[in-house]
């Protein structure tokens, strides 16, 4: 039993066929696929001119009237892109108005997000390279002594600040050289050297910590309180420290070495995610 709901799509298609056949005057033998009993009371058969397969009728494509019968049966014979003949066939979109090309200058300007990440490659948002007087306004590099008091996270963040600053300087140099902005190369070079000195100090401090950690491991091998085998707790403190007269210094040394172990860098627990900083912040910190 065919319900009204099931009929709806086929009715729509049939309506389209009626319209298409009336406009184009294509006559075709009437034949319905769906239940004739249900379709007949609504409209039939005067307007029905095509099959219910809607594809063939809706397409405006038909055989070109004056088409030659070529020996090779090539449908595209005579069509040429170079001579702009167009198709010999009427296409489904032939009546549609084609969009006209617009010149790039007439298009609306593309808006750049003011928070776009790529702005961080620029020292200055208008001139790319900052003027030499402004470029020279920076402090001294971080010293190793200052960095010894910093944690691994801090050092890693500072490293990424340096990396981004170097990228900024390199981008500005490219722009200054290729667009011939003028002076500023010497100031930029001084700035770059300052950044490099900071990076060198960071590596210096990390190397120091690595050596301290190596020494601490050597010491721990002979320490009865420390178990390096991996079984059980690593550190088992004794009940009291034996005070040996005249041997206070070595104990302090050991303690100092242990404290270094606690602050030594362990790379696998860290993050390479850089800090979210901008040029102004960088200029003030470096």
């Amino acid at each position: 039993m065919v319900t009204l709901g099931a009929l709806r799509p086929s009715m729509g298609a049939a309506l389209q066929i009626c319209r298409a056949s009336s406009t184009h005057g294509i006559a075709a033998p009437a034949r319905t696929v769906t239940s004739r009993a249900a379709a007949r009371p609504v409209f039939y058969p005067s307007a029905q001119a095509a099959s219910l397969s809607t594809t063939a009728v809706l397409l405006k494509r038909h055989k070109y009237v004056g088409a030659r019968v070529t020996r090779d049966n090539n449908k595209q014979r005579g069509e040429s892109v170079l001579r702009r003949t167009g198709t010999r066939w009427r296409l489904s979109m032939s009546d549609e108005p084609l969009p006209q090309p617009v010149k790039p200058e007439e298009l609306p300007p593309v808006e750049t997000d003011p928070n776009h990440g790529l702005w961080e490659f620029f020292q200055d948002r208008t001139s790319i390279a900052s003027p030499p007087l402004k470029d020279a306004q920076h402090g001294r590099p971080w010293t190793a002594e200052e960095l010894r008091h910093k944690s691994w996270e801090d050092l890693h963040k500072l490293w990424w600040v340096c990396v981004k600053e170097q990228n900024r300087i390199a981008t500005a140099k490219w722009e200054r050289d290729n667009r011939q902005l003028g002076y500023g190369g010497a100031e930029a070079e001084t700035r770059r050297k300052t950044v490099l000195a900071t990076q060198k100090a960071i590596k210096h401090v990390l190397t120091e910590r690595f050596y301290a950690w190596e020494d601490a491991v050597e010491l721990a091998k002979s320490d009865p309180e420390i178990n390096l085998s991996g079984d059980g707790p690593a550190f088992t403190p004794q009940e009291y420290l034996e005070e040996v007269p005249g041997e206070g210094a070595p104990v302090e040394e050991i303690e100092a070495a242990e404290s270094d172990v606690a602050t030594s860098p362990i790379p696998d627990s860290s993050t390479p995610l850089p800090p979210k900083s901008n040029a102004q912040k960088t200029a003030s910190t470096i």
Binding site: V110, D113, H116, L118, V163, N167, L181, G182, T271
Partner: protein
């Protein structure tokens, strides 16, 4: 344990690598695009060791810029002469990458000549031209190929040039004695008979 990088990779809509790199020393510079390059493409000059995945992850983690695709190419440098021209060598090639951005980025316009006052453009330009001239001359002098026409025009040279032109235009005007060929020769030394009686 999920590292922060791996967490970020999960968050990103597009595939992102999870490899951790510590203390990188790469220098990545952004380069002004060519004319008519669409704003969704950004050009970078990267180290030769970089690959397309590297720049994608680098931009995402360091600059929070998402990239849908990357094109890369290597620019071979021209052959250059060594110092004192003792042989040829080729500088190291440079790698460039063009990233297809999710968010378009339009570069600011090139600074006008008037706007380059902070860079002291006028002085720079004059000095640069002078330096180029000096370099060219010294190059010619080293080769021993400096010709008179490459020399700077002094007042004397200009005067001689003027006289030479005069001669070439009308050689006859410079005939012997400054006489034109059309005029007849005149005897300069004439026997003068002196009156002895006087």
């Amino acid at each position: 344990m999920a590292t922060p990088v791996a967490t970020a990779a999960v968050k990103a809509l597009r595939p992102i690598g999870g490899k951790q790199i510590f203390l990188p020393q790469h220098v990545v510079k952004m380069v002004r695009p060519k004319d008519n390059q669409p704003p969704n493409l950004a050009t970078f000059s990267v180290p030769l060791t970089f690959n397309k995945f590297d720049i994608r992850d680098y931009l995402f983690h360091a600059y929070n810029v998402e990239v849908t695709g990357v094109r890369s190419f290597v620019n071979q440098r021209r052959l250059q002469k060594k110092y004192r021209r003792l042989g040829w060598y080729r500088p190291q090639a440079g790698k460039m990458m063009i990233a297809e951005l999710v968010k378009p980025f339009v570069w600011p316009k090139i600074l006008e000549l008037k706007e380059r006052g902070d860079f002291d453009y006028k002085t720079w330009f004059t000095m640069e031209n002078e330096q180029d001239k000096i370099n060219d001359e010294s190059l010619l002098r080293e080769k021993g190929r400096q010709k008179p026409r490459d020399l700077e025009m002094t007042h004397d040279i200009l005067l001689m040039k003027k006289q030479a032109k005069l001669f070439l235009d009308d050689p006859a005007s410079w005939a012997f004695g400054g006489l034109r060929s059309t005029e007849k020769w005149r005897e300069v030394e004439v026997d003068v008979k002196l009156d002895k009686n006087k």
